[in-house]
Structures are given as structure tokens and as C-alpha cells.
């Protein structure tokens, strides 16, 4: 494989488990800045992020992260030293304080000097706004704060690449907003790859969007470019049209339709959600296709 300057470079990556093909020959080159991975549950986002985060190995295809090959143990080590990861289902040691939890992970990130390590733990905790509750036990923290603890550990050592798998999942809108602020502050100085199934997250944070479904990349580009793909395909009407590709009733009582123009409708200004739905269709509301992560054949 030729050398690459991309932060993440995937070529024809395939990953199968059991009888399901989670990734069907995905190719992607990502640079700096914030990239959003958008797709419904079961699209293969988590599998892709796990491969980038080096916790899974691809079955075939080429993978380079930060210029290194994760299939080699030195390459893997080098990537892990420069990477911060927020897994899809983060676990906690609930009886530890936020400080001690992040400290433990700092030890795993090879920070053996205690004074230096403690300074770094304090730094990342204040970067996510948890400096005042650093000594509180994790079980006493709110859901949003718990997730910020995981973001904090991802920031340890000032990594070159941050991989965040649905970091704001399960948060209420107010928590989401605060979380988005945290992430956008971080994004100013780090390269971030984050996945989500909510278009507002992408619109708010990302310079680059990748839409995935069924283990394949459907589209890639800037958020504006993605929105443009829906231009001329979004309509508003007083009545529903069963022939529309996707349609729903908006809060104002009208119907928003995507697809060919039905009679008596008006053209509407497209939004990212429309473009996303156009690409992904009914799968956007589908049940997860892939087995959940707990079915991994782990120890």
C-alpha cells in the first residue's frame, strides 16, 4: 500500500462475524478536523470505529491509522499511544471517584510518574468541566457527567486522533447540547471521528460527513454538499402521499415528503435530515441488523 498522509485510511475493508457482513468492502480516507459517521443502528459504524480504534482487526482490506498498520503489534502499540477512544457501551467502576477512574486509565496509558500523571488527570477533567466533582464517586454523577468522564479519559496524553462512538447517546436534549459544546471545544485542537444517528450532531460539529448503511459507505463530503443532494426532492403538502419515498406529518400539521413531487405540493428548503433519509430510506427507523456487541466471543 502506498504511504498515506490521511489520518485514517481504509481500503476495501471487510469484517464478518457469524453470518453477518458488518462491513462490506469499505473504503475511506479521512483527514484532520471533525468527521461525522452518520447511519442507522446496524449500519456498521461501531465495527468501523472499533477497527480504527484497533480493538478489532479487519478480515481483509488495508487499514492505516495515523500512518501505522494496526495488524502489526508495533503499529498497534504506536496507534494506541496516540489515540483516545470512547466506546459504544462504556463501562465504569461505579465506586471509584472520577479522578481515580481516569487515573487508572492514565496508568494503562503508560503514565508511570505519579505527579505528572495526576497533573494530567486534573487537566483533562477540567477540560470537560468536571474539575469540581473530580472527587465524587461515579455512581453519584449524572448520566451526562458520567459520559464526560469517559471523554476525559479519551483526552489523556493529548491524542492525535479521537474516536467517539455515539458519545451523546441516551442524553436528553439539554445534556446533548452541553455535550456538543464540550466536543466542539475539544474539536478545535484534535482530529475527531465520531459516530451518531442524529443529524443535528453532525450539522453542529462536523466538517466532513460520511453516511453509512448496511456495511457500506453511501456518501461522503461536507455537510452542505450532503444537504444539497436533497435539493429539489423535498416537498411540503397539506395531504399525505403514499407514493412518496418517505413522508411524515410535521408539527405544523403539514406533511413533509421526500421523493417525486406529488400534486399540490410546494418545494421546501432541504435540511440534513432530508438528505440522510433520502439516502438511507426506511432503514433509518429499522431495528438493529447486527448482533449487539455483547455477543462478541469475549472472555
Amino acid at each position: 500500500m502506498t504511504t498515506t498522509t490521511a489520518t485514517v485510511d481504509l481500503r476495501q475493508v471487510i469484517k464478518t462475524y457469524g453470518s453477518t457482513r458488518a462491513l462490506q468492502g469499505v473504503s475511506l480516507q479521512l483527514g484532520t478536523g471533525v468527521t461525522g459517521l452518520l447511519g442507522p443502528n446496524g449500519a456498521g459504524k461501531t465495527t468501523l470505529l472499533r477497527i480504527v480504534a484497533t480493538v478489532l482487526a479487519a478480515d481483509s482490506g488495508e487499514v492505516r491509522v495515523l500512518g501505522e498498520d494496526p495488524t502489526e503489534s508495533e503499529g498497534r502499540l504506536s496507534i494506541r499511544r496516540r489515540l483516545g477512544y470512547f466506546p459504544q457501551e462504556p463501562g465504569y467502576y461505579a465506586s471509584l471517584s472520577a479522578f481515580d477512574f481516569v487515573d487508572y486509565l492514565a496508568v494503562l496509558k503508560e503514565m508511570t510518574d505519579r505527579r505528572v500523571r495526576h497533573d494530567e488527570v486534573r487537566r483533562v477533567l477540567s477540560e470537560v468541566g468536571l474539575a469540581d466533582v473530580a472527587h465524587k464517586r461515579i455512581k453519584a454523577l449524572s448520566g451526562g457527567m458520567k459520559r464526560r468522564v469517559i471523554v476525559a479519559q479519551a483526552l489523556l496524553g493529548d491524542p492525535d486522533l479521537l474516536v467517539l462512538d455515539e458519545p451523546a447517546a441516551g442524553l436528553d436534549p439539554e445534556q446533548r447540547l452541553r455535550f456538543r459544546e464540550t466536543v466542539s471545544a475539544i474539536a478545535e485542537r484534535h482530529t475527531v471521528l465520531l459516530s451518531t444517528h442524529m443529524t443535528e450532531d453532525v450539522a453542529a460539529l462536523c466538517q466532513h460527513v460520511v453516511v453509512m448503511n448496511g456495511g457500506q459507505v453511501l456518501s461522503e463530503g461536507t455537510p452542505d454538499a450532503l444537504v444539497e443532494t436533497a435539493r429539489g426532492r423535498v416537498w411540503v403538502s397539506d395531504k399525505p402521499d403514499p407514493a412518496a419515498q418517505v413522508s411524515w406529518r410535521t408539527g405544523s400539521g403539514q406533511h413533509r415528503l421526500i421523493g417525486d413531487p406529488p400534486s399540490g405540493s410546494e418545494l421546501a428548503e432541504p435540511a440534513m435530515e432530508d438528505a440522510y433519509l433520502l439516502l438511507v430510506g426506511k432503514a433509518a427507523n429499522a431495528e438493529p441488523v447486527s448482533p449487539s456487541p455483547s455477543r462478541w466471543r469475549r472472555q
Partner: protein
């Protein structure tokens, strides 16, 4: 807690487990505490140990400060008792009372006298061992027994010296 927080606020944060606040409190008080402890015992190692013991004690029981009086005075109370504990472990030591007389302006003497009700200005007229006893019991707030441990004399001697000191001070102040 930041550098501008009050001592009381720092103690409250320490009670919550915030180690940074302990560090801030330390940087604020350790300089004068070290000086004052050194004026009671000129053994550097003993003073260092007493200082360390003091802040570990503060970490363990920040709530024993009941909110009355200056935090600095409360801290000194802990520090001097930790010093005594350290001294008890050592066979012999020479405590240090205030150093030699230095010529001072009359104006300063008067101001000082006004500030502290005249007691302190009268100290110069006392002999060193009486000054040490007055310093320990009156200025440092130690009990007779604690003063005895600090000065390495029996409690009875502390009492008799205090009586003599009172007599002499009364004479000096009238």
C-alpha cells in the same frame, strides 16, 4: 477551589475530598507556619515532620475546624501540637525562645504595645525561660502539660514559672 477562595471555602472543599484545595491551603500557610515552628524548635527535620503531619491531619479531619476564629489560628493549634508529638519521640532538644535583643525604635515599641495591650512589649523585661513559658501558654495557647513537653520541663515548673512571669509582668505593666 481556586487561589482566591477563602480559607473556610478551601476547608469545605477538602472535606469533600478535593486534594487541590489542600495544596492551595498549604502554599498559603506553610511559609509562616515553618517560620513560627522554627522559632519553637531549631531542628529543621523536626519542623519539616511537624509541618507534614499538620497538613495530613488537616486532610483527615478538616471538619474539626468549627468555624469560629481564624483558620490560621486553628492551623497553628494543630501545628504546635504536632511539633510537640515529634519532640516527644526525641530524647533531648533545645527549644528556642526569641533571639537576642535588637535595638528597636521607641515608636515601634509604642505601636506594638498599643496593638497587643502592652503584654508583648513587657516581654523584653522577662528572663528567657519565663518568656518561653509565656509564649507557650499565652501566645500559643498550650496547656500546662503541653507547654511542659514543648519546653522539656515538668508541668509543675511551667506553673511556677507562669506565676513568676505574671508577677513580673504586672510590675512591668504598671
Amino acid at each position: 477551589m481556586g487561589e482566591t477562595a477563602t480559607d473556610e471555602a478551601l476547608l469545605a472543599a477538602i472535606a469533600q475530598g478535593d486534594q487541590q484545595s489542600l495544596n492551595v491551603l498549604y502554599r498559603r500557610h506553610a511559609p509562616w507556619l515553618t517560620a513560627r515552628l522554627t522559632h519553637r524548635c531549631n531542628d529543621r527535620e523536626v519542623v519539616d515532620l511537624a509541618l507534614q503531619d499538620t497538613f495530613v491531619a488537616i486532610w483527615r479531619k478538616p471538619r474539626s475546624y468549627e468555624g469560629s476564629g481564624e483558620v490560621a489560628a486553628w492551623v497553628w493549634g494543630i501545628a504546635v501540637r504536632r511539633l510537640i508529638d515529634q519532640l516527644r519521640r526525641r530524647p533531648a532538644h533545645t527549644p528556642v525562645a526569641a533571639a537576642e535583643v535588637v535595638v528597636v525604635s521607641a515608636e515601634e515599641e509604642v505601636l506594638v504595645g498599643l496593638q497587643h495591650g502592652g503584654l508583648i512589649s513587657a516581654l523584653d523585661s522577662l528572663s528567657p525561660e519565663l518568656v518561653a513559658v509565656v509564649q507557650a501558654t499565652v501566645l500559643d495557647g498550650l496547656t500546662t502539660r503541653e507547654a511542659g513537653r514543648l519546653l522539656h520541663i515538668p508541668a509543675g515548673t511551667v506553673k511556677s514559672r507562669m506565676s513568676r512571669a505574671r508577677v513580673e509582668l504586672r510590675e512591668a505593666l504598671t
